[in-house]
């Protein structure tokens, strides 16, 4: 009975949170006295005002959370480390961008084919990389992903078809999707995508397949000797994680309406790694909490200054350095991350 109540309580909290997030544009709209739909000018909406600005911050959080959750599926639940997650994120963005800008298709069709093709390509990439490296033990998968991602970054940064370092802009999107015409519509799309990713990963990890993932993470040899084909399971995990990261990359490209080599850059490998580890690897909420806290800190501290003994320190300048130090400290002192450490603390309290 007590157990039942606890489940209801936790679900109730999640539902409340979801309701707050759905109403968020309107709540902020009331608080900052701005319209959640932007400012009307003629027959177009101009994206201006407090509510719209806050929607973008949360949209970025949702995208990063999706990326971190996909990373966590691989690293936290299957125990496979990739140092090239940006490869999936960026490749999907490039595929969609090329479809929209370089094919003569109708916008709606180009979008539909682009999304399917992008996610398909990411899955295929994961499959190929996995097939090539997973038969080898140890660090080879990590090295290989690092090398391939770096190669893609350099290649797309110099390829004339994609306008090299400048990248190219995506100009025509349907109104319901275009974040510069209907931010709130895109807000709900990303929210839905993030929630769907969360539920999907939880369902997957709690399934028998997920149990094998965790068995591989805990002890690969034992999982193999129990008769599971661990390579197939790892491949599945990589393909799914790659497709989810690709989906996050698609949303990112649509949000910024620009495709450039920076979406393949090491930042989109580092971000999910930091978010997963600081939030708590191998937990469902960890990557989300990590994404929320790191992105908010980033937004707030970018322009902050700290006066220390008469010397003014620009936090924005040393933020990346601080983040690195926090990251190393977490790896050594709190390897379970925020959520993992809290869960362990609570279990201990309960046992007492």
């Amino acid at each position: 009975m007590q157990n039942f109540v606890r489940v209801v309580q936790s679900r109730w909290l999640a539902l409340l949170l979801l309701a707050v997030l759905i109403l968020f544009p309107f709540i902020v709209g009331v608080l900052t006295d701005s319209s959640p739909f932007g400012v009307a000018r003629g027959d177009r909406m101009i994206m201006r005002g407090g509510s719209v600005r806050w929607q973008s911050v949360l949209i970025e959080v949702y995208i990063l959370a999706m990326l971190a959750m996909s990373y966590n599926l691989l690293f936290g639940f299957t125990g496979v480390i990739s140092f090239g997650h940006a490869l999936f994120f960026g490749t999907a963005g490039y595929v969609l961008g090329l479809m929209l800008e370089y094919t003569a298709l109708d916008t709606g069709w180009a979008l539909a084919i682009g999304v399917v093709a992008a996610i398909g390509v990411c899955g295929l990439l994961g499959l190929v990389i996995g097939l090539v490296t997973l038969r080898l033990k140890g660090v080879y998968f990590t090295i290989f992903t690092l090398a391939v991602a770096e190669m893609a970054f350099i290649f797309f940064g110099r390829w004339s078809v994609t306008r090299a370092e400048d990248g190219f802009a995506i100009s025509d999107l349907p109104v319901w999707l275009d974040p510069s015409q209907s931010r709130i519509g895109f807000y709900y799309i990303t929210l839905a995508a993030a929630v769907a990713t969360f539920l999907f990963i939880r369902r997957l990890v709690n399934s028998p397949t997920g149990a094998v993932f965790k068995a591989i993470r805990e002890n690969e040899d034992r999982a193999q000797s129990m008769g599971y084909n661990i390579i197939n399971y790892k491949l599945l995990s990589i393909v799914i994680a790659g497709m989810l990261a690709g989906a996050a990359g698609l949303l990112h490209v649509i949000l910024n309406k620009k495709v450039g080599p920076e979406i393949l850059g090491v930042a989109y490998t580092v971000d999910p790694l930091l978010m997963t580890i600081i939030g708590g690897i191998g937990t469902f909420t960890g990557p989300v909490i990590g994404a929320v806290s790191l992105h908010f800190l980033d937004v707030f501290l970018r322009d902050a200054t700290l006066v220390l003994g008469g010397v003014t320190i620009d936090i924005g300048n040393i933020w990346a350095l601080l983040l690195g130090v926090i990251f190393v400290a977490v790896v050594i002192v709190f390897p379970l991350g925020m959520i993992g450490t809290w869960q362990r603390w609570r279990t201990r309290q309960r046992k007492r």
């Binding site: 080879y140 990590t142 290989f144 770096e150 390829w159 990346a320 350095l321 690195g324 990251f327 190393v328």
Partner: protein
């Protein structure tokens, strides 16, 4: 025996191919010489990063993703110490540029050793029971190193301006001017390859290290403090990487991209040569260095401008596909 013969054939084949391409591409013997020399130069610098990476991986199973950062930090410190102003100002104390360069290299090596010691003792040691986290940790350290360098020296790349003895002279061959400094670096690299090889083959500590690469637990069981050997080897590897950065700086300058570029190149060297194999690292460095120089030569004026920067990665991918244990790796 068959595996050895294959490796030998493969090495000779790749070497002949690279030299052949360089020869076909060059217009004159001087041109050809420049490609070869720049390949060897690059190869020796790579060896300085890759040797530490390889031995540390063989001995401790730690792939130190911060190894490239030590190279970068070495380059920055050497630049800073040689030039007026900056954090370390030696202009007043050592007016002679030659002496100052030696001092600059010494400071860089000492800092590399100190930072390496701190990383192994302070950060890696608590994590030997969690190997995945060691990998993640060294990655984190490389981020910190990069940000620290950006904070101290800003992101603007420096090019070396303070010339000294070997750096400013040239010698002429086949009607082509060659920089003496490149030859100097190649000579130092060659000497170090032999010296470290002798150290590993002939001395007691070298025997312990090689035994440790084969079987760590057995060495421990024989009553040797393997942890202390780990620290020593790790520190030494980082010091050599910093030394590489310091002697590369007069030619390559100091920039924030050095770390990741040399890390990836060194990793491809180590994979090509075979993880943990010293001879493999030495041969692999020369091969990768030459292939980069040949690619640079080939790519000039063509639309494949990105070719030289992705050559090491292409090689890495190829080796992993065809022969993941590398040229000298044991096929476990």
């Amino acid at each position: 025996m068959r595996a050895q013969r294959f490796s030998l054939l493969a090495i000779v084949g790749i070497l002949l191919f690279l030299v052949g391409v360089a020869f076909v591409n060059s217009n004159s013997p001087g041109d050809f010489g420049i490609t070869l020399l720049s390949g060897l130069f690059q190869g020796m610098l790579l060896f300085l990063v890759a040797s530490g990476l390889s031995i540390v991986f063989g001995l401790m199973d730690v792939l130190n993703l911060a190894q490239g950062s030590y190279f970068m930090v070495g380059a920055y410190i050497a630049y800073d110490a040689q030039h007026p102003g900056g954090v370390i100002d030696l202009m007043g104390a050592l007016p002679d540029p030659n002496v100052r360069f030696i001092a600059a290299v010494a400071i860089a090596v000492a800092s590399g050793a100190l930072l390496g010691y701190m990383l192994e003792r302070g950060l890696l040691r608590p994590l030997y029971s969690r190997p995945i986290f060691q990998l993640v940790l060294t990655f984190g350290v490389s981020l910190i190193a990069l940000e620290a360098v950006k904070f101290i020296w800003t992101t603007t790349p420096y090019s070396w301006t303070e010339l000294f003895g070997v750096r400013e002279t040239f010698f002429e061959l086949f009607g082509q001017r060659f920089s003496t400094y490149r030859l100097f670096v190649v000579a130092i690299g060659g000497v170090l390859i032999v010296a470290i090889g002798v150290l590993l083959q002939r001395t007691r500590i070298g025997i312990i290290i090689r035994a440790g690469v084969e079987d760590r637990e057995m060495v421990q069981a024989l009553g040797i403090n393997v942890r202390a050997v780990f620290t020593l080897v790790f520190t030494f590897g980082c010091a050599i990487a910093a030394f590489g950065g310091a002697i590369a700086a007069p030619f390559l300058g100091a920039s924030t991209t050095l770390g990741s570029v040399f890390l990836l190149q060194a990793i491809s060297v180590v994979v090509l040569g075979g993880m943990g194999s010293y001879a493999g690292t030495a041969v692999g460095s020369v091969l990768v260095g030459l292939s980069i120089a040949v690619a640079q030569d080939t790519a000039i004026g063509t639309s494949f401008a990105a070719l030289p920067s992705i050559t090491p990665m292409l090689l890495l991918v190829l080796v992993l596909l065809v022969r993941p244990s590398g040229l000298f790796g044991n096929t476990r």
